[in-house]
Homo-oligomer: 230 residues x 2
DNA sequence: CAGTGGTCTAGACCACTGA
DNA sequence: CAGTGGTCTAGACCACTGA
């Protein structure tokens, strides 16, 4: 249970910052001073402070020193579950119904100019509609999708298993169900829905663009922040 | 523009992994071999690989070696901006109007049983309502809130500056505006809104419970995943 | 039980930049 | 222009764990 020295340094300043003992903007001791306090080499101090810096707790400026970061935003960890797993975890029966499957040339967005497979369908939990999905998958990046069996497996699940992405962004908003969406979801037009729009890449190569519209009271996203570092 | 050696090592393996040249599960060279390839010391290799490891691209196992991580699509980084900063960044004028401020004893939730300050108000961007906020702040954990000037600074911003939390969870969903919320936001009853409900702690001590209801088409949340995480 | 990564030392030269 | 952090070296001992 002997804690590594660098970790001890990291914990020391993390605690003082979170306790408010070191306020935002306050200057930390120099690396030389921390070396003396902890009786360790400069490399150990440097690694510990680099960790805090990349975690966003401190800012390091040459010649000026090291300072407690002024909090402007917090980042939380958002869980993005695979829908099939999520529904199964709820103890419900999952099903995806593919309504449309066609090739198209994309005219806008990060897939613009590419040939893509255009997929439209509905996710069900215990035969109640959960979300409509509208997805484009790049045929250049994922040629295998052209022959994939998407009747038994949702496109998102298939992609997760076959073509993992390395980069993604999501935009989350509340929208009113369009007449078409309302019809597919069994809602009144204008009913509140949660829209999740995600773009994914593998390296710099675009993979997919997907928009999912969830029935408002049947789905929520959960995010966490805590000392369980990452 | 001489690139640091550690960065060169990092870039080298990041490129090979993203290009698929090193597939998930593949083993990377040992630190000894990389030292020889790049003609550098072991510390430099170690720092470079540690970076890739904390970015989630590789996994390091003692005795076994270093391997390309099998991609997990579970979690993204959700930015939770301070509303005052967000509105200012959009080039709009921010204002918070406090409508209600009273002490109460909380009867449910993670603050249950505590004396708390109950705050209700509206966030504005260029005088257009952006969100209604309903917040409870523990008076035991944050006694200073009792005398804080919340007319000039929103409670969330005040807390951010004065009492940083260490743990939080958020639930994000789409809801229909209640009659009261619709009135405050200038919407029709039932209009789609984004609801963000957040609980925060400092250590194990509960700090605040807040529910913000955003006008659907004036706000969205953004999440990222990728090696360029920051 | 041997090879791997984890951590650390006691130095070094350098780039940057604020006093 | 002097003090700070950024990066690097060439070693070292250790803990872990899979062959």
């Amino acid at each position: 249970m002997t804690q590594p020295l660098g970790e001890a340094i990291r914990d020391h300043f993390e605690r003082r910052i979170l306790a408010g003992d070191l306020a935002p903007g306050a200057r930390l001791p120099t690396e030389q001073e921390i070396m003396a306090d902890f009786q360790c080499s400069r490399m150990t101090v440097s690694k510990a402070l680099s960790g805090l810096s990349s975690a966003g707790l401190i800012e390091r400026r040459k010649r000026a020193g090291t300072f407690v970061a002024r909090p402007r935003a917090h980042s939380m960890v958002l869980e993005v579950p695979d829908l099939a797993s999520l529904v199964a975890a709820r103890g419900q029966q999952y099903r995806f119904r593919l309504d449309r499957r066609e090739e198209a040339t994309v005219t806008e967005g990060h897939l613009s100019g590419e040939r893509a497979l255009h997929l439209v369908g509905v996710h069900f939990a215990d035969e109640a509609p959960l979300a409509v999905e509208d997805r484009l998958v790049s045929l250049a990046a994922v040629p295998a999708i052209a022959t994939a069996d998407l009747a038994s497996e949702a496109p998102g699940t298939w992609l997760l298993h076959h073509v993992p992405w390395t980069e993604a962004d999501s935009r989350i908003s509340a929208v009113a169900a369009s007449a078409n969406e309302a019809g597919l979801l069994g809602l009144a037009t204008g009913a509140p829905c949660l829209s999740v729009e995600r773009r994914t890449w593998r390296g710099t190569e675009p993979i997919t663009l997907v928009r999912q519209v969830f029935v408002g009271d049947r789905y929520e996203l959960v995010a966490h922040f805590g000392p369980g570092a990452s």
